[in-house]
């Protein structure tokens, strides 16, 4: 064993070895993340500055041409607007529904366990299976929803076959599917709220709304933020139900960004343009995440 060096050098060595150890411990995760997330993301951004290679025509550097094409592409704008609408409507609805369901199954009612299970069931189903169930609900004439509508004496609605209803029909499936999952988070949050706060409120004769507004809502706010970030990111990652239910139609009425990227990449084989679209999606998601963490964070009550 080597003799111990002067005091300061020993400290430095220890510090270095702690850093090395730390990096070694993180190495598997870093390698995985880099290989499957960071390197692909960077190479996507680089690819978006090149033309798509085809056979004997290699990729050439074209600067921001793909982005100029995008600005002039009406289908991109429709997909973008559809996606915004999709996020703005499904996220608050899913959160509201999830919170309502959590409040219901958190209260002392009989059959609570069965109800919890029922609310959670949609989450367990694979999206494609859920989409196929809803495909049957939406089928014109003999589909479940149309049979109900007809039972009341109204005419049939072609939910997935008309431009006005195709996107809302997809939104309903998403809310139905996601609310159960988010309910679990809210249920956990509700059970963390100290019961003495509610007792104090009862002593003060606070109304139900007041209790919710002044105690429950502020205390579940961190969960709301967490769920909102996840739901928003999910809203931009939707692709399964679009492929299974509408194929983006009619006339792009239900085309969302990720579906459009898939179409450009694997139907049109325009990998350069698909890379540019992916870069825009990446930026949009990064902005959303950063904005939520930095702006909303300050207004949220953390214990």
């Amino acid at each position: 064993m080597a003799p111990a060096g002067p005091f300061g050098e020993g400290m430095r060595k220890a510090a270095i070895s702690i850093h090395v150890q730390g990096w070694l411990l993180a190495l598997p995760a870093v390698v995985l993340l880099a290989t499957f997330t960071h390197i692909p993301a960077v190479s996507t951004i680089i690819d978006s500055l090149f033309s798509t290679p085809h056979g004997k025509r290699p990729a050439v550097f074209i600067g921001f041409d793909q982005y100029r094409t995008m600005l002039a592409d009406p289908v991109f704008w429709q997909a973008f607007n559809n996606n915004l609408l999709y996020a703005l409507i499904t996220v608050p609805l899913a959160i509201a529904l999830a919170l309502a369901m959590a409040l219901l199954v958190n209260s002392r009612i009989s059959g609570r366990a069965a109800l919890r299970l029922a609310f959670f069931t949609p989450t367990i189903l694979p999206m494609v299976a859920a989409a196929n169930i809803w495909l049957f609900f939406y089928t014109p004439d003999y589909g479940l929803l149309n049979q109900i509508i007809r039972g009341f004496g109204f005419g049939g609605v072609n939910f997935l076959g008309s431009t006005a209803t195709a996107l809302p029909a997809l939104m309903v499936v998403t809310v139905w599917k996601e609310a159960g999952f988010f309910m679990i988070f809210f249920l956990a949050a509700l059970q963390q709220v100290p019961p003495d706060l509610y007792e104090a409120a009862r002593l003060e004769n606070a109304g139900r709304w007041q209790v919710f507004r002044r105690i429950t809502w502020p205390l579940v706010m961190p969960t709301v933020l967490f769920v909102a970030v996840n739901a928003l990111i999910n809203a931009f990652r939707v692709v399964d139900q679009v492929i299974a239910m509408t194929g983006g139609g009619p006339n792009n009425a239900s085309t969302l960004l990720l579906f459009y990227i898939y179409q450009v990449a694997f139907s049109f084989w325009d990998s350069g343009y698909a890379a540019a679209l992916s870069t825009v999606l990446l930026l949009a998601l990064a902005t959303v995440a950063l904005a939520q963490f930095f702006l909303l964070d300050r207004k949220i009550h953390y214990r």
Binding site: G55, G156, S162, S267
Partner: protein, 428 residues
């Protein structure tokens, strides 16, 4: 040496020996999709085993690759990663995409013997239209189809129509449709006259209407389309009118997948769909049904559809030769007949219909012959360079017209403009 080391050495030698023996045989990877019902995987595996028995030096590895769309995605990505299949069944309309990416070998460069050349000429000309470009043959017809109309004979009888006669003209489509469309007391339709599906790939069914009206949607070179030809606009208007003006067809988009179910459930008296659904309808329709050729305006007609056999480029000449052997094996008259009977696809060559098996099948089930007889009026399915994008421009326009979002002319003008832009770089 301990036992592990010895085993390892033995294994290494065995692997080397295997490697040597594998190199002397030719492995052929064969991608195929499934687009119709039935035990397709079993049939294909059977064909591969039969071929390997006759050619012990060639091993066929059949790989089921999902739908047509999944299959082209897998073939293209595998090829770009330097691991392309040797033989693949892909849509005939994928031809230009495969040529443009320099992935497939034209048959003329490998099929050089007199027998090979005669083989290329042995298929129905209508199927070859989608298989040749620039004077060369890029695909060999394998599982090909056309559109036919199926009608419910009982519904025809109930409406006072001759159950043995399908509408033969556009005027009859409207007249029959009006008689066949039934409403309940509150005015809701309980049975539609006709359904022409319009989800997913409306261009294909629309192309039948366009052909009937005397229009051709794309040129043979695949670099020019005629989306806003007045005859095309008229055909699109007629399709929309069936729902919006004459009210004999549901309004909006009609789903391709549920159309056969609508037919079985009696929700529609007539449906247009592929001949590939023949076996499905035969099994599931609980009433007497008829299968007829497309009606006519200027003349009858339907686009062809379905998949061709492509041979992928390879520097190994032995592989190309083996791939050709396999393609020829899959398309002999006997195999073409057998495949047609098993699936409902149209047997791709006239001499397949002269085989005993096919004669017997046609006698037992006359509707099988309808698609073949329609081939004389059939035209190439819409296929161009940058195919899926150029086609999507038409799909979007058609869906806009059918949902009433846009009138026919401006929608198709816009589609034409988009297609011109996309095809500009392919004009030599």
């Amino acid at each position: 040496m301990n036992i592990f080391a010895r085993t390892a050495v033995a294994a290494a030698f065995a692997a080397m020996a295997l490697g040597v023996s594998a190199a002397s045989a030719t492995d052929i990877t064969f991608y195929y999709p499934i687009a119709v019902g039935g035990p397709i995987t079993k049939i294909i595996d059977g064909y591969a085993a039969e071929f390997s028995k006759a050619h012990p030096d060639i091993t066929i590895k059949p790989v089921y690759t999902g739908s047509y769309q999944d299959s082209i995605v897998k073939a293209m990505t595998a090829a770009k990663a330097g691991n392309s299949p040797d033989v693949a069944v892909l849509l005939s309309t994928d031809m230009f995409s495969l040529i443009d990416d320099d992935l497939i070998e034209p048959y003329e460069t490998i099929a050089t013997s007199e027998a090979d050349k005669a083989w290329i000429k042995s298929f129905y000309p209508a199927f070859m239209e989608n298989s040749q470009a620039d004077g060369r043959t890029w695909g060999i017809p394998f599982q090909r189809s056309t559109i036919v109309q199926y009608w419910n004979k009982e519904a025809f009888k109930a409406a006072g129509l001759d159950p043995e006669k399908a509408p033969a003209t556009w005027d009859e489509m409207i007249a029959f449709g009006k008689k066949l469309t039934k409403k309940d007391a509150s005015g809701n339709v309980t049975q539609w006259g006709i359904e022409i599906p319009s989800s997913g790939f409306p261009y294909w069914l629309f192309q039948a209407l366009a052909i009937q009206n005397g229009a051709t949607l794309a040129n043979q070179a695949g670099n020019k389309v005629a989306y806003n030809d007045p005859k095309v606009i008229e055909a699109a208007q007629f399709w929309a009118d069936l729902g919006q003006k004459y009210e004999v067809q549901p309004k909006g988009i009609i789903d391709w997948g549920t159309t056969p179910k609508d037919f079985f459930e009696g929700k529609t008296a007539i449906m247009w769909t592929t001949t590939g659904n023949l076996t499905n309808v035969r099994k599931n329709a609980k009433f007497a049904f008829g299968v007829g050729p497309m009606p006519s305006k200027v003349h009858g007609g339907s686009p062809t559809g379905g998949g061709n056999i492509y041979i992928f480029k390879n520097t190994d000449k032995a592989k190309l030769a083996a791939a050709l052997q396999f393609a020829r094996f899959l398309t002999t008259p006997e195999k073409a007949a057998d495949w047609g009977i098993a699936t409902g696809y149209v047997a791709t060559r006239p001499d397949a219909w002269e085989t005993e098996a096919m004669k017997k099948y046609a006698a037992e089930f006359p509707p099988a012959v309808v698609a073949r007889d329609q081939l004389k009026d059939a035209a190439a399915e819409l296929s161009t360079h940058d195919n899926q994008r150029v086609t999507k421009a038409l799909n979007d326009a058609l869906q806009a017209i059918l949902t009433g979002a846009k009138p026919a002319k401006p929608a198709l003008d816009q589609a034409q403009e988009e297609a011109n832009r996309l095809l500009a770089s392919y004009k030599h």
